[in-house]
Amino acid sequence: MAGSHKSNITPPRWLLAELTYACPLQCPYCSNPLNYAKYPSELSTDDWKRVLTQARKMGAVQLGLSGGEPLVRKDLSELVKHARQLGYYSNLITSGYGLTEERIVELKQAGLDHIQVSIQASSQELNDHIAGTVSYEHKREVAHLVKKHGYPMVLCVVIHRENIHQMQQILEMAEELGADYLELANTQYYGWAHANRDLLLPTREQFEQAEAIAQAYKERVAGKMKIYYVVPDYYEDRPKACMNGWGTTFLTIAPDGVALPCHSARELPGLDCPNVNDYSIEAIWNESKAFNFFRGFDWMKEPCRSCDEKEKDFGGCRCQAYLLTGDMYNTDPVCSKSPNRHVVQEAIDSAKSASLVPGEKPLIFRNSKNSRDFA
């Protein structure tokens, strides 16, 4: 393994453990890889414990337990318990599907700190349609139970063209359910969301209207419910500071043990992402080719290389550059300085024309059958 940046490497703070790709839901914006069905193997309980121990030792403190649907793992409580003993703050990121009161109590006793429940929409009909599974009433029930058992309650709603008109009702629903935090996550177009972009990307007018509603509500509930608003970067003129910089803060471990600098990095060519079955977390973080690939600024091309904003946004997202321009070294095309900004405009135009002829092509739901078609 090659590595030359060792002296200025900061330790990981955030460990995202994608425990499984299995999920009973079928969200068409899911950020899992399209071909996830190609990676059916899963780390054992002992493997995960070793990963948690090693990453904690380096300084990781926030732990995200996600997937797929992490509740599918039978050893979830055991892993939570191990994480608690190590001093992690553990966040369960779940669809809530299959979560019973008994399990909520069991996880609390194991030391789980927080449960984030995702809801797809503010009405049963739309929620169940987007989730591809009847789940709305159950999710509401889960939200109540999470609150009842003293967890901070975080609701997450992914926003896209099919539910953006419900912004006001979504906010009211969150308040009514007693959410402590509401995450309004405008869809990020990777994985399944990218495949469904023509059907999911709202128009600029829709965004602006929804954002104004969310901002006004935010002021009204200040001190009671915190609202995180994840901006839709296609409508920005600077990219997001992706992952707070490559290999500086975030470490993702995929279900089969592949270590990723960001959860989409598996799709970048030639990174040779290492597996925790072969290397320690320390070796992966400090020395692997993948984690050093975009560390620092030496890899940059123009216009980023000589740009005075590069320390602010790190040139944006590598996966987005690759997905939209075919070259992962390019400036994130969201940036107005990018010579490829037109591809973002084309995506916006294409989604707009698709919205004028509804029903032309169907949403591709995230499930194993569709995933195998992408493999």
Binding site: M58, V61, Q62, G87, D113, P152, G223, K226
Partner: protein
């Protein structure tokens, strides 16, 4: 929201205050986030355990650091802590 001098101050049950060995710092942990604390902020928050009012916190820290006149700074910090939801008075 302002600090009520008549009520005891608790650390929030939905946040966690913890020493981080790797960073050599006390931190506050909450859903998907972390705040790093300097030493004086950490000292104040550690006394917010539900058995003290502002006045007692000030007294205790002035005694500990053998000084006087900490009242304003401590009050200002506690206001911020309350706004951020790190402490409660319920």
């Amino acid at each position: 929201m302002t600090i009520d001098p008549e009520k005891n101050i608790h650390f929030s049950p939905t946040h966690r205050l913890q020493w981080e060995e790797a960073q050599q710092k006390d931190v506050i942990l909450y859903p998907e986030g972390m705040v790093e604390l300097n030493q004086s902020s950490a000292e104040i928050l550690k006394l917010c355990n539900g058995s003290r009012k502002v006045e007692q916190i000030v007294e205790e820290l002035e005694r500990k650091f053998e000084t006087t006149g900490l009242g304003n700074d401590i009050n200002a910090f506690l206001e911020v802590a309350l706004q951020n939801g790190w402490i409660t008075q319920e």
